[in-house]
């Protein structure tokens, strides 16, 4: 019966001349010059992002632990392990502290510095340049700098702490190592927040600010009721960028503590690195990586909602 219907349809379609140019048109549209010109870019993009992404999903269902060049199907093993692994849970906990504390400090300092620079009457460029220096330093170098400064044999800060009678090793102590790496991150990335927020501030219309002054606002009132609400979006953008990076950038931790002591600085990115490149357990690493991607997407969504929600 169904074949009869199909036959009927095809018979009905065939004599209709209007249909075939339409189908041809679609194909022609696909090969239009502009599409052809875009094709190389799309193909390159697809091969460097989309293909690896699907490969990652595939890898997360495979077991590479026994033979790295000959994976076997592992079913949900990697994913079950991901949710049951106390080490991963611990790393997420560390990541949460690291990210929340780091972002909070960077936000407060970054916005504060941006406001300060924004109201600096002269020499703003020089201050901005000086303040921005850490961004231009490679993260590895930032880690090394932190390491040198805090090193207990020859570090400047360690020496100062020793003069103050505090004889602790900052990276060797589970309670101080995490704050230390957070502070290095803050040192390096606060200027980025400043840069983004400052550019936002500089593009604010001046008239509402002057209106507020005439309306009777003190500096703090102006800040609270006009400047901050008007630059909220740009601040959220800065935070979004940083929150995505803070999970992934492990250079500093790699250099200074390697995740220790007692796993106190092993953020999820560091754990991923370890599973992927030390244990060469690509399947499990893929699962961890995808979970990070998922969290990043959720975070991004949340930030976008905040941004357009107001």
């Amino acid at each position: 019966m169904s074949t009869g219907k199909a036959l009927q349809q095809s018979v009905m379609q065939q004599p209709e001349p209007g249909n075939s140019p339409k189908a041809g048109g679609r194909l022609a549209r696909l090969f239009r010059t502009e599409n052809m010109m875009l094709a190389p870019a799309i193909i390159v993009l697809a091969s460097i992002t989309i293909f690896p992404f699907f490969y990652l999903i595939y890898a997360s269902f495979m077991n590479y632990a026994l033979a790295i060049d000959d994976p076997t199907f592992a079913g949900l093993r990697n994913w079950v392990r991901l949710f049951k692994d106390p080490a991963v849970a611990h790393s997420w906990k560390v990541t949460l502290i690291y990210a929340v504390a780091g972002l909070a400090l960077e936000l407060v300092l970054g916005v504060g510095m941006a406001l300060l620079l924004y109201s600096t009457p002269w020499g703003r460029n020089i201050f901005v340049t000086l303040w921005m220096l850490p961004i231009f330093v490679a993260p590895v170098v930032a880690g090394l700098l932190g390491w040198f400064l805090l090193n207990s044999s020859y570090g400047l800060y360690a020496w100062i702490l020793q003069l103050l009678g505090l004889n602790i090793d900052i990276f060797g102590n589970a309670s101080t190592a995490l704050p230390a790496v957070i502070l290095i991150d803050v040192w390096e990335w606060t200027p980025l927040i400043t840069l983004i927020v400052l550019s936002g501030l500089q593009s604010l219309p001046t008239e509402p600010l002057e209106a507020a002054e005439v309306d009777g606002a003190s500096y703090w009132q102006k800040l609270r009721y006009v400047i901050l609400p008007l630059s909220a979006r740009i601040i959220v953008v800065a935070l979004l960028i940083r929150s995505m990076d803070i999970m992934r950038f492990i250079d500093k931790i790699f250099i200074t503590t390697a995740g220790g002591p007692a796993d106190s600085t092993k953020i999820i990115g560091m754990r991923l690195f370890e599973v992927a490149f030390r244990f060469m357990d690509i399947g499990y690493a893929a699962a961890i990586g995808l979970s990070m991607l998922f969290v990043t997407i959720l975070l991004g969504q949340a930030f976008v909602k905040v941004m357009y929600g107001r």
């Binding site: 219309p205 008239e207 509402p208 209106a211 507020a212 005439v214 309306d215 009777g216 003190s218 008007l230």
Partner: protein, 367 residues
């Protein structure tokens, strides 16, 4: 409500002097307009009064208080900005209430004032809207409303109408004038549009290059401009100027130039005064409405044979651009056009409504 005075006020940015020795006494309840081309220092003067710019030297008083070093919030002024300067993240109600809230008025008082101002401006139905949902005219009303609710000593308006289209501008002009009559708050209004200045101001301050040219009522300014700049700036179409030389011939004082221009000074007193200007360069000025067309090739005195270049029909009147030699003159004739382009006609210059300025200093020779 209060008086405002500027005393020897200067404003400099580095080497550049933007406002030069500004002296101005503004009376209580007065509506005063600062007018001039862009860059003349009018906005800067207003912003110094608002406290948004520092005063380089001199003093500014509101009432009896010297306000030079007082922050804007303490000056009890309200300002309306060219770009409205509404707070984009607040609705209309909050925009208007903001200043009152900062001053810790009670909620009921704020509500009363906002509603009242909204009623005056006809924006009661917009109170919940955000500025981006309003038209330009509505935004400007909100900006004015924000100033009104404060019931300040002085209103400052910085080109408030220049972002509106022509029709709306005329309408708002009238409304602002009406509003001022109602509130009677001292108002300082900055504009580059002489029509706005002429129609709204009790007195007008004409400024150029940071220097006050003349402070006077609109009619005084129109009739007795102190110098060539004011004469040219006030009135539309602008006054015609003809460069000429003063000569004395057989007891008669004449103004002539090489294009065949000749104007006989009838006024005896003026003629006596012009003796000093013998053979010197003067600028003869006459407003377009003071030029008449006369029939025939009249050779009567103060008549001039000219060629018609352009005819602009404005309905109730006609602007005719004529020329002789290198000189062009705009004439304003009542009614619809009677002349054709290319035609040669004779015009008569009014024998008693004309202006004379020293070519060198630009100062009026007639007092």
């Amino acid at each position: 409500m209060a008086t405002v005075s500027f005393k020897n006020v200067y404003k400099k940015y580095g080497d550049q002097t933007v406002v030069k020795n500004l002296n101005l006494e503004i009376k209580d309840q007065e509506f005063i307009v600062l007018v001039g081309p862009s860059g003349c220092g009018k906005s800067t003067s207003l912003r110094m009064l608002a406290g948004l710019e520092e005063v380089t030297s001199g003093d500014i008083y509101i009432g009896d208080t010297r306000v030079n070093d007082m922050p804007p919030k303490d000056r009890d002024i309200a300002m309306v900005f060219q770009n409205y300067a509404l707070y984009p993240h607040m609705n209309v109600y909050d925009n208007m209430a903001f200043g009152l809230r900062l001053r810790k008025y009670s909620a009921s008082e704020i509500d009363r004032r906002v509603k009242e101002a909204a009623a005056i401006l006809g924006i009661e139905h917009l109170l919940e809207r955000k500025p981006r949902e309003l038209s330009g005219g509505q935004r400007q009303r909100v900006a004015i409303g924000r100033a009104i609710v404060r019931e300040p000593k002085v209103f400052l308006m910085d080109e408030p109408l220049s972002n509106l289209d022509a029709k709306l501008r005329v309408q708002m002009r009238a409304e602002l004038a009406k509003l001022h009559q109602k509130l009677k708050t001292t108002c300082i209004y900055v504009t580059h549009d002489q029509t706005e200045a002429m129609t709204m101001g009790d007195r007008i301050v004409v400024m150029k290059d940071g220097v006050v040219q003349q402070v006077a009522t609109p009619s005084e300014l129109y009739n007795n401009p102190k110098n060539i700049f004011v004469a040219g700036f006030i009135g539309s179409p602008a006054m015609n100027f003809i460069d000429c030389t003063c000569i004395k011939e057989n007891d008669e004082v004449c103004l002539v130039n090489e294009d065949g221009f000749k104007f006989l000074i009838n006024d005896k007193k003026l003629a006596d005064k012009l003796i000093n200007y013998h053979n010197k360069k003067l600028v003869f000025g006459i407003r377009p409405e003071d030029v008449r067309g006369v029939p025939g090739e009249s050779s009567k005195e103060n008549c001039q044979r000219v060629r018609v270049d352009v005819v602009e029909n404005l309905g109730s009147e006609t602007l005719v651009y004529v020329s002789f030699g290198k000189q062009t003159i705009v004439c304003r004739f009542m009614g619809s056009p009677k002349h054709k382009v290319g035609e040669n006609i004779t015009i008569a210059l009014s024998p008693n409504r004309y202006y004379l300025f020293d070519k060198e200093s630009g100062v009026s020779v007639i007092d």
